[in-house]
């Protein structure tokens, strides 16, 4: 028999025992109304009787009508304060200099790349871009994963790809949709994907990646591999139906997936306090019967530690985990957004000054003697040169071949695709003046 059946059988076996122990309800309720709160609590404790309903096996009967609006808010785990000081010595990260500086260097490189590509969009050289400013500490989560853990991103997680070794050329080729773009010029900028780096191609519609992550996790569980899926999303996406669908199905099918919510305070312009009324996103995880962690998302080491622990639960127990990383989006939502319309510049500046993930990590590194001003400047400058070089090369490359318009709709071209392709090729050939393909790659 399967687990579900035995759970049902268990539920059915409860009533006879439970009912026997239930005190006479009328007498009890009369008492409940007349006693003080303190003795009522004592009374409740004494006669706690479990319910026998299959839908909530852990509940107890009570003669107190309770209307609950709030649960105890979930605490936010942190390792460092805003000055990069470790608050509890037992939490001091046990990491090597190389490992710690790699994380920080990637955070810096991400900043440099964002700055240049953001400007490129403003100059009209690429159509769209999204920056990561303020949320760089999520790279700590990538550092806690195995390189073969599958990542399903939302769109603001380029840093995880950078951490895994996606090259600057690969970033630039994608943003320029040239002939070297792994996505063959079919997606908007920042919709990266890399099979080799186990990073699922970004899907624009919000939250579709969540149930898919559960499915990929199910496949991993079936394969017996000691891996999990990491799924990123924002607090705004958590209002989508797919969020509920994904968490519920991951919990019921016991999938090794980590749902990582970057709660950055804004869904484009909608502030978090208009997005939901509960205790953030983390409170919902418990509702799905899921292990849940809330963490200071500006604290690299807290994010790292939380992800490490979540990964253990996912991989060893085959259970989903929800992490809510609290942060603040310093940049605009995307290049299509001007956030000064809905928040003051001062608010943004205050965040940058008072709780900056870059500063916190840098100060921690400096306290170890692993970083200083000279290294900071040197890294920024070499990365700036490298980004600009990649950028210029990507801009110069040819655009994808015409055939790429039709390839990959299916595994093979279907008759109507063959016909369309032929028609286009004939038109191009017939009217070369109108269809200049000199800047396109040659067909394979």
């Amino acid at each position: 028999m399967y687990a579900r059946v035995s759970a049902r059988a268990l539920a059915r076996s409860i009533p006879s025992k439970a009912l026997k122990a239930t005190p006479a309800p009328l007498a009890h309720s009369a008492k409940a109304f007349s006693t003080s709160a303190l003795s009522m609590d004592a009374h409740k404790k004494k006669e706690r009787v479990k319910v026998h309903f299959p839908g909530a096996l852990d509940s107890h009967f009570s003669q107190v009508l309770e209307i609950r609006e709030k649960m105890e808010p979930i605490d936010t785990f942190r390792v460092m304060d805003t000055d990069g000081k470790v608050l509890d010595k037992s939490l001091e990260p046990e990491v090597t200099e190389e490992f710690a500086t790699k994380i920080y260097k990637d955070m810096l490189t991400l900043n440099v790349m964002d700055l240049i590509l953001y400007e490129a969009q403003r100059q009209g050289r690429i159509s769209f871009y999204m920056t990561n400013a303020g949320e760089e500490a999520y790279i700590g989560s990538a550092a806690a994963l195995d390189p073969e853990d599958e990542i399903f991103g939302q769109y603001r997680e380029a840093g995880t790809l950078l951490y895994r070794g996606f090259t600057l050329d690969q970033f630039m080729n994608q943003c320029y949709s040239n002939d070297m773009d792994l996505g063959k010029g079919r997606q908007m900028p920042v919709h990266y994907g890399s099979k080799a780096l186990h990073f699922q191609t970004i899907s624009s519609p919000l939250a579709t990646q969540l149930p898919q992550a559960s499915g990929a996790a199910y496949a991993i569980k079936r394969s017996g591999k000691k891996n999990c899926v990491m799924c990123y999303f924002g607090e705004g996406a958590a209002s989508e139906g797919d969020f509920h669908a994904a968490l519920n199905i991951a919990a019921t099918t016991s999938c090794p997936v980590i749902f990582f919510c970057r709660n950055n305070g804004f869904a484009i312009s909608t502030p978090a306090n208009e997005q939901y009324k509960g205790d953030g996103i983390a409170s919902r995880g418990v509702g799905y019967g899921m292990h849940t962690i809330r963490v200071d998302g500006n604290d690299v080491w807290a994010v790292y530690k939380a992800t490490q622990e979540a990964r253990k639960i996912a991989v060893e127990k085959h259970k989903p985990v929800l992490i809510e990383a609290m942060t603040y989006r310093v940049g605009h939502h995307s290049t299509s957004d001007d956030s000064s319309a809905y928040r003051s510049k001062k608010e943004v500046e205050d965040w940058k000054r008072h709780d900056n993930p870059m500063v916190r990590m840098r100060k921690w590194l400096e306290s170890k003697g692993w970083w200083d001003e000279a290294r900071e400047n040197a890294h920024k400058s070499t990365q700036r040169t490298a980004v600009l070089k990649s950028f210029a090369a990507a801009e110069k490359r040819k655009k994808p071949a015409v055939s790429e318009m039709f390839n990959d709709v299916y595994d093979k071209l279907t008759p109507n695709l063959i016909e369309q392709k032929k028609e286009l090729e004939e038109l191009i050939k017939k009217y070369p003046a109108h269809y200049d393909t000199s800047n396109y790659a040659k067909d394979n």
Partner: protein, 376 residues
């Protein structure tokens, strides 16, 4: 998922086998073996059992194939299509899901990205609208958008089109919806051979395939050829089948309407009115325009039949394709579409009956088309 339909389902589909087992154990055994024998000694099988065979054979052949959906396991499927599969393959490969179409559909899509071959059952296609973003925006496009790096070998299946007495939200055809999406393949079986062969082809196909079954056909028995009984039997996606050859007019139909078209053709032939050629589309996308064009060039007349709505429908697409092809010059009369009425499906039996084409309507339209002549 709507609770209402589930009720209707459990009431309107009594377990034929259970009832039979009580009254006729011998026949029940024959049915359990999924085969029965007709008066001519040929093998017959219901569409339901043909689909069940397809699932069982493909799950046996490939460990990566698994089934998920609401009630597919312990309950054996709302329409019993998955009967016996949980017992045979266990809960890892036959998964009962919570009532969340976007959830289990998204899960299926994600698992396909990760290398599994899910068969995602929707209790009916009506409920799949809750998950249409996963089907259209993710399953259909990811292979393309990932530069060919991510495959999505998934089969979406379930009953489509009008059922009986379940009203507007449970009675509609999605052939035109999914048939318009590049990246999806869409098939619409009529009889048991179609059902088995197309579902098997769908599961083996490396692309996402939408299988539009029909609830009212599940319990109908059809002869199965020797070839169709084999575990190697597949029906090629993208190829229509000429069910009956004829010389005077072509009737193109899909799903349940193929049966009506054949009946109409027989009726007209018996009355000595005409010899109609009946084409069973089998695939909605890719659409086998070649077979239709060839037939029209022979018969010079065309009528399309479907249960879906007229506007932007399968018939409309066929009309357009014929207009754009060399077959246009061979037409002696305008093409006519026989479709469902352009209204949400009413519940009352009398009104529901008016809302969908049947044999008589088709016969009438064919007669009218035979009497028309372009330019006359």
């Amino acid at each position: 998922m709507s609770s209402m339909l589930k009720k209707a389902v459990t009431v309107s589909i009594p377990s034929v086998r259970q009832a039979l087992a009580r009254s006729n154990p011998v026949l029940a055994n024959a049915l359990l073996a999924k085969r029965s024998y007709n008066s001519k000694g040929g093998v017959e099988m219901t569409v339901r059992d043909a689909l069940n065979s397809a699932l069982e054979e493909e799950m046996t052949a490939d460990e990566k194939v698994y089934l998920l959906g609401e009630e597919v396991g312990q309950y054996n499927g709302a329409y019993k299509v998955s009967k016996g599969l949980l017992d045979k393959f266990g809960p890892k490969r036959v998964i009962d899901t919570p009532i969340t179409e976007s959830g289990f559909c998204g899960l299926a899509v994600g698992s396909a990205f990760a290398g599994l071959k899910p068969v995602c059952e929707f209790m009916t296609w009506n409920f799949a609208m809750q998950a249409i973003d996963q089907i259209v925006n993710s399953a259909a496009k990811t292979h393309y958008m990932s530069g060919g790096n991510v495959d999505c070998p998934i089969t979406f299946r379930g009953p489509n089109g009008a059922a009986a007495g379940v009203a507007a939200q449970h009675s509609q055809c999605f052939a035109a919806w999914y048939g318009s999406v590049p990246g999806l393949k869409v098939v619409s079986p009529w009889n048991s051979e179609d059902a088995k062969g197309l579902l098997k082809a769908a599961i083996r196909d490396p692309n996402p395939v939408v299988v539009l079954e029909n609830e009212l056909m599940y319990g109908i028995s059809f002869p199965m050829s020797e070839a169709a009984l084999s575990k190697d039997f597949v029906v090629e996606i993208g190829k229509a089948k000429i069910e009956k050859e004829g010389t005077d007019i072509t009737i193109v139909a899909h799903s349940r309407a193929v049966g009506f078209a054949l009946e109409a053709a027989q009726l007209l032939e018996k009355e000595g009115i005409c010899s109609a050629e009946v084409i069973n589309l089998r695939s909605i996308r890719p659409l086998d325009t070649e077979t239709i064009i060839k037939s029209v060039k022979k018969t010079n007349r065309l009528v399309t039949v479907e249960g879906g709505w007229p506007q932007y429908g399968v018939g409309s697409e066929i009309c357009a394709q014929i207009m754009e092809s060399e077959a246009f010059d061979h037409l002696d009369a305008p093409v006519v579409r026989v479709t469902g009425a352009d209204v949400p499906t009413p519940y009352a039996q009398n009104l529901e009956a008016y809302a969908f084409p049947d044999t008589e309507v088709i016969a009438r339209v064919v007669k009218r088309t035979l009497n028309k002549k372009i330019g006359a």
